[in-house]
Structure formats: C-alpha cells, structure tokens
Symmetry: C2
Subunit: 324 residues, 2 copies
C-alpha cells in the first residue's frame, strides 16, 4: 500500500460522506446540473484537500456532519476553480477525463462553475461557524486573485522572479491547503496556537506539493509521465526550475520566447529542457521543496502525535521522494 | 423629487458607506482589479437592492457597520452576476457604459466575476451571522440555477409557460429582493413573523418590478426608451406579454422563430409587437404586476409603520405607474 493510500485509509470511512455532501443540495429539477456534479465528483482526484481538512479536525472529537460539510466545501471550491480554469486555458482533459468545456458551451461552463462556488459557500456555512466562512471566502479571493495576477502578467516580456513564483503557488495551491487545515482545526475547537500550527503545516505542505508537481514537468520521459515534457513552459508558464536556470543564464532566447508566448518548437523545448536539467536547476528546485516539506514536518511535530500525524509524516516522506 | 429619489433620500446617508464597503478589501497590489471595481461601483445603477436591505433592517436599531457590509454584499452579488451575464450574452453596454467584456478578455471577465462573488460572500460574513450567510449562498444558487435553466431551455421549440416565466423572474430578480429584505430583517433582530413578512414583501416587490421591466420592452417608442423595442424577443427571450398573447393565438410563426433563435427581421418584430399590443396582452401583464405590487403592499401593511414603509408605499405606487 502506497504512502498516500495509507494516509487516505485513515479517512476512508469519512470519504463516502464527503462525496455524498458534494452531490447533495442540488435542485431536483436540474437534471443536467446533477449529471455534471456526478461527473465531476465521480472523476475523483486524490481528495488530498478534504483528507487534510479531516485530519486537522480529528486531532480532537468533532461533529462528523459538520466536518463532512467542510471537507466537501473545500473540495468543491477546488473543483469549481478548476472548471473555470479549464475553460480559460481551453484544457481538454483533467484527471484523464474530458473537461466540462469540451461538451458544454462557455456560457454553461461559466454558470456551472458559479453554481459550484455558491454550493461550496453554502456547505462551508453548514459548519455554523462564521470564522470558517470568512476564511473560506478569503481563500477564494486569494485563489482568483492569483489567477488574475498571472493573467495580467501574461505577455510581459520578462521571466518572473522566484518571489513571484512563490506568490503564485501560494495562491494556486498552498492557500487552500492552509485554509483546509486551519478550518478543520477551528471546527474541532482547537486552541489558537494549534490552529496556527495547523495552518502553517498546511501552507508548507502545499508549497512543497506544488513545487514537486512543477518539477515533475521536467523529469522522466514523456511516455512515463503521460504528457509532453515541459508542458508548463510550452504554455508560457515559467516554474521554479526555469527561474533558477534563469538566475544562472539570464534571458535565454527560448525561455523569453516561451514566456512571451511567441511559440516555441518541439526541438527548442527539448533543447532547453536538456540545458535546464544539465544546469542542476531541477535539483535546486527539489531542495526548495524539501525545505518546505521539512518546515511542514516541524509544524507537525508541534501537534499532538497520533495515527494521523504519523501518516502525514509518511505522506511528506512520500512527497519528497515522489518518482522523480 | 421622484418617488424613487424620495425613497432613496431616506437611505442617502448610508449609501456612501455602502459604496465604500463595495470598494474595500481589495488587495493593494491588484491595481487592475481596483480599477475595475471602481468602474463597476462608479457605474452606479439604482442601488434599489441595498436600499431595500437597509430599510428592512432599519425597522429597529441595527449595527451600522454590519448593515453596510450586508447591503454592499447584496449589491456586489448583483454586480458579479451581471459581469458574467454580460459576458455570456455578449452585451456591450450596461447602464449606458461599456461592459467589462468589451475591454477585458473572456478569461479576465470570468475571473473578475469570480473575485466579486468571493468578495461579496466575505462581506456577507462580516455580519457575523451564519443564517445570513446561508441565505446569501442559497440566493446565489437560485440566481445561477435560473440562468442555467434558461440556457438549457434555449433552442427548445416552444414558447415557455407563464409558470416558467414566474420561476425565471423569481430566480433573476425577486430572489435577491426577497433575500435582501429577509437578511436585513434578520440582522436587525426582528421576530420571526416580521422576518417572514419582510421576505414576502421583497419577493412580491421583486416580481412586480421585473414584470414591469419586461413590459417596458413593449411600450413607448424606440427613441424614448433608448433601446430597440422588443429587445428581449429579438434575443429569443419571451416575457409575460408574449406568453399571454401566445395563450390567445398559439404558436405565431414569428414568435416561434424568435424563441427558436432562427432570426427575425426588423419588420417581423414590428409587426408582432403591433399584434401583441393590439391583443391587450401588455395590459394583462400589467394587471399581473399590479397584483404582485398590491401583495407587496399587503405585506408592508403588516409591518410597523414609519418613514420607510411610507416611502416604500410611494415606491410601489411609482412602480405601478412607471411611464408606460
């Protein structure tokens, strides 16, 4: 059993309830809408965000019904933002299945996303905890703000800085990880210090998680990963290895062409990927990820030890050692 | 001073605070975002939703800061849904000013709407009242659900029924009117019976308001109204006068062509508008609006009488007698 499965097995009893919550509360008559939600919920994903939310809450006794609503709210918020993202990026596949925008009009896809945002807010409100709702809404603002930022920077002529990268992956990933662990901890009635530690833990784990995800784009062969190497860079998105390479060899023409979205050929991509790999930038990026992961572990060590923290330590070791 | 201005003068002291709330809470660094919010808030609109929310709350002493947050949340929710609507409908003007989608890409417009939704939810949470947040989220679901419904019915071959029309205008307009008065009343700590009456009042007023808005599309000459007559029907949207006409003379070929979006000529539109007017359907639609308005007044009469209820009675008389 993999480390992730080991971790998820601890919340396995909760997950069917979380899924049920995600599918619930839809108007009877909207059959199309119900079909779409079934499709999105059924398409799965790793459910790491609700799992972390549940584990943060289960440090102490917590009302299961509210916890499942909160975990469902977190995953549905994530799902809703992916629905709009895929439309904006014109992505055709997500988790190996066709995206909504493949079969639905832009209008329907926009409204589906809006509906899921609304439903996720309603689920968050089911916790009966206004502080949780506040964090929930603020996190959505952070996520969307990050995307707007990226959009407005598109077509800028320079390679973003490492600081800008950190801001971006915070908005994209770490903000919801951190919100999930923080909200779970609040729901359980944890003392303020523990809530803060849980938030820190979620934040550091999310940062490590996203950096590793970005590194994967530069490692392995194309057949292994199942998508073309340096897919991000092909789309004009510079990630940490690119930035670290850019610090060594500023303004390589291929990278500039890529971030300016002027179109780079397959040959150019392969050549620059070879250069980036040879420069040691991928390993340096991995060191940054490990640093965040260790900070996550430090936070974890401040929490009461139990099966959950043990499993999360396992997850972190796994995260660091992902097949890269 | 018009009846609307008379009404709005009662909340005039509050409105600058509401506007300020609408502009607040935006990340410092997102200059584009701030500019857009300034533009949307500055573009104005009648602010009838926040005005009703405030008046419902002011039946008794209420914390001003929270009330302004709530009123701003209501107006921002409305604004956010218009941002997505205008993109979906490819509308170029709103309140006499270019829409966002004229100057921004679809991607930026989608994200702007999402951001405003998130901010509106955060403002609703500032009331510190979870029941209000619940109603707020449910109302967003109703609004978006109504739009999805309309979208899925597009291209259907028949003229919608009067019941379907009522459902649609509830989702589009009356749901937020009702939510505004209900939430305002809850915030003020009103007894349950009064909260229900306030909700009923908002509902009936919203229904009347939307029917009259739809009727205006059939009255007056084009120069007077400032947009082409039967603009809704040109876009394939059947409103109450069309449905009432359809009950008298089912399946007129021009109307079928219009709702099937097969394209109708200017001559065909003018001919069918003349027929609808001559049939008395516009007057019948007005009778329905007046019935809703009278129900709003009945609800109002159950509330403690004060300057606000008096002004609202004035508004209703005005609404009924709008220049049509």
């Amino acid at each position: 059993m993999s480390r992730v499965n080991q971790l998820l097995s601890l919340v396995a009893d909760d997950m069917p309830y979380v899924d049920e919550k995600m599918r619930s509360g839809l108007p009877e008559k909207h059959q199309d809408l119900r079909a779409v939600v079934d499709y999105l919920v059924g398409a799965g994903g790793k459910r790491i965000r609700p799992a972390l939310t549940i584990m943060a809450a289960r440090m102490r006794p917590v009302e299961a019904e509210k916890l499942h609503s909160l975990a469902a709210a977190v995953e549905l918020l994530h799902t809703a933002s992916l629905v709009h993202d895929d439309l904006i990026d014109n992505s055709l596949f997500r988790r190996g299945m066709p995206t909504l925008n493949v079969s639905w009009s832009p209008a329907a896809t926009i409204l589906m996303g809006d509906f899921l945002f609304a439903r996720s807010a309603q689920l968050a409100a089911e916790t009966d905890n206004i502080r949780i709702v506040n964090i929930f809404a603020a996190t959505l603002m952070t996520i969307v703000g990050g995307e707007l930022n990226q959009l407005f920077n598109d077509g800028h002529s320079r390679v973003p800085t490492v600081d800008e990268y950190h801001e971006r992956i915070y908005a994209k990933t770490a903000s919801l990880f951190a919100a999930g662990t923080e909200m779970g901890s609040i729901l359980s009635g944890a003392p303020e210090e523990e809530i803060k530690t849980q938030r820190d833990f979620g934040y550091y784990l999310g940062m490590a998680f996203q950096i590793i995800d970005d590194i994967l784009d530069f490692r392995g062969d194309e057949e292994h990963i199942g998508k073309p190497v340096a897919n991000d860079l092909r789309q004009g998105i510079a990630t940490l290895p690119v930035m670290l390479f850019n610090q060594q060899q500023p303004d390589h023409p291929t990278i500039l062409k890529a971030v300016r979205r002027e179109g780079v050929s397959d040959d150019e991509i392969h050549e620059i990927v070879d250069r980036i790999r040879a420069s040691g930038s991928v390993e340096m990026a991995m060191e940054t990820a490990v640093k965040f992961a260790r900070q996550a572990q430090d936070a974890l060590n401040k929490l009461p030890g139990n099966l959950y923290t043990k499993a999360i330590h396992g997850l972190i070791e796994y995260t660091i050692s992902r097949d890269i």
